[in-house]
Symmetry: C2
Subunit: 334 residues, 2 copies
Amino acid sequence: MATLKQVAAHAEVSVQTVSNALNAPHRLRPDTLERVNRSIELLNYRPNRNARSLRTSAVELIGYCVPSWPNQTHLVMDQFLHALCAAAETSGRHILLFTAPAAVDGMPTYDDLHARRLVDGFVLSQTETHDPRHGWLKDRQIPFVSFGRVWKETTQPGPWVDVDGAAGSAMAVQHLHETGRRRIAFLGWPQSSGLGEDRLAGWRDRCTELGLPTGGLVVRCAEDTIDEGARATAQLIDSGQPPDGIVALSDILALGALRQLGDRGLTAGADVGVTGFDDSPRASVVSPGLTSLRQPMEQIATELIAILTGTRNDVPSERLLLPELVIRGSSAPG
Amino acid sequence: MATLKQVAAHAEVSVQTVSNALNAPHRLRPDTLERVNRSIELLNYRPNRNARSLRTSAVELIGYCVPSWPNQTHLVMDQFLHALCAAAETSGRHILLFTAPAAVDGMPTYDDLHARRLVDGFVLSQTETHDPRHGWLKDRQIPFVSFGRVWKETTQPGPWVDVDGAAGSAMAVQHLHETGRRRIAFLGWPQSSGLGEDRLAGWRDRCTELGLPTGGLVVRCAEDTIDEGARATAQLIDSGQPPDGIVALSDILALGALRQLGDRGLTAGADVGVTGFDDSPRASVVSPGLTSLRQPMEQIATELIAILTGTRNDVPSERLLLPELVIRGSSAPG
DNA sequence: CTGAAAGCGCTTACAG
DNA sequence: CTGAAAGCGCTTACAG
């Protein structure tokens, strides 16, 4: 492996000049620059990042904790990880993966990775309602950015990027309304979920704006499963005033709705328009396809990295992004 | 941030002694060791890994390329990544994620990461039939280990860990036979897949051993989709001699089989026993649950890391592991 | 525009 | 068992 010194000797300049050729090429005379570059090429020189990091005390590595218990929320994990990785690379950085116990028990791991300079900072995801990680990192002035807000806090502890769930629900209601639905139900989660309440509010507000009923049209599911989604849908159908549209809080609940409609001999789309959230891989493989609100993963990842690396001081460090309604057969009018 | 030097000053020893306290504590007198450890604790000292890596030229980071095009194979990606990460950590290492173009186009990325000392080596997965990465890395003497064999090569270019697909199929056949099935079909892929031929061979051999028929019982699906699995199952049922057992090459094809059986009014399990491969998350949420061959992810990850880090020179650097048959309702006798 | 020199924080023969 | 010193490969004021 060639070193800076060897390149310098080969190009007959000082090491400083070679370093400048790499990091501040404008400081060199064009002919010197070209000569140095030729030597770099010839010797196949690659700067040693450890040496660089030791000097600059920046490792250009971003820590990300791989979730321990894969649940339904993680159906889009692969997409997120890939997008995050790609975004990091556009700024010359990489993602370092680690595992850690949940919540505050895991904080020593974060602390250690930062203190030993394995990472410059962290991207947090799987944010929970009273997530303690944010405050902990903030107190210690460890750089981080969160994908997802910490709900039920008056002020957000630190920068974040999130998707506007209320706007998403509103888009779904609007779409179902435009395809002729007039009784649009909402399949949700228990009240403890900040994310759930956000999406519920969007549904309620848009329904009200459009003059649609909301009474008796909310069913809260105990857990995020297909069975619960099916059960809730059955409850709505049996209520005497069945809905002609269903906005589900998740793709999983929506899949349950589709199954129940099928079991009842109803056609998703023609009879009841159904939408989900997250556009998970399964949304596109079921038949009919599930209309769903896609999280703009590339944009999320780009914003997270931009905030963490401070490359965009022009944008606020709180970014609420709009989801995109991906329309498929489950909401197609008959 | 405290440095070695500061700890040394505080403990009134040389930096060498502090370094030894960390890396070779047996060299210190017990009382000195304790004094040094007290100073380390007090100053909350953490060794700077960049400085260490610069000296030792080992970064203790392992590169792993995040797959670009999430397909069905990646349903178990999350599990693998988590297991890999955990295994790396037990030896003080971490996973560095990166993106790269497919096949040989991506090799400069691997080369660059290694040359700049961002990683010590690589774990390869998503191995393809004529995967060029292995030979390329081997030629350049860049450390790597592969999850999955390079099929259709006479000798494997480098160390690998894989799951025995033939043994898996044989286990599935055995299980279906023990639950009373006597005509066991196989749902496969096109011949181009080495992995597919391996699993097919296991089915054929065990059927023959048990005196079961194999003629007319293989259907090759053009692609790994639920629709193709359903179509192939329909073909088998309509063949005049319908099977009472189906070994599917993947969970996806198996799910197609389950759907088709349901559409025909047949009960999976009681009427036709069905098994899949990989025990993907969906295997446990369908009803009846899908019997499937689980890849031993933790073991795979542990072996990969052990081989790559050379911590176990006692084991060969080629490890063929057995999958585990997870029995669910889809193979329960009536 | 270019160069000599110090130093980032460690580890490791080597000497005592 | 302990210590003084060199050096890993870079970057960065500073001087010319």
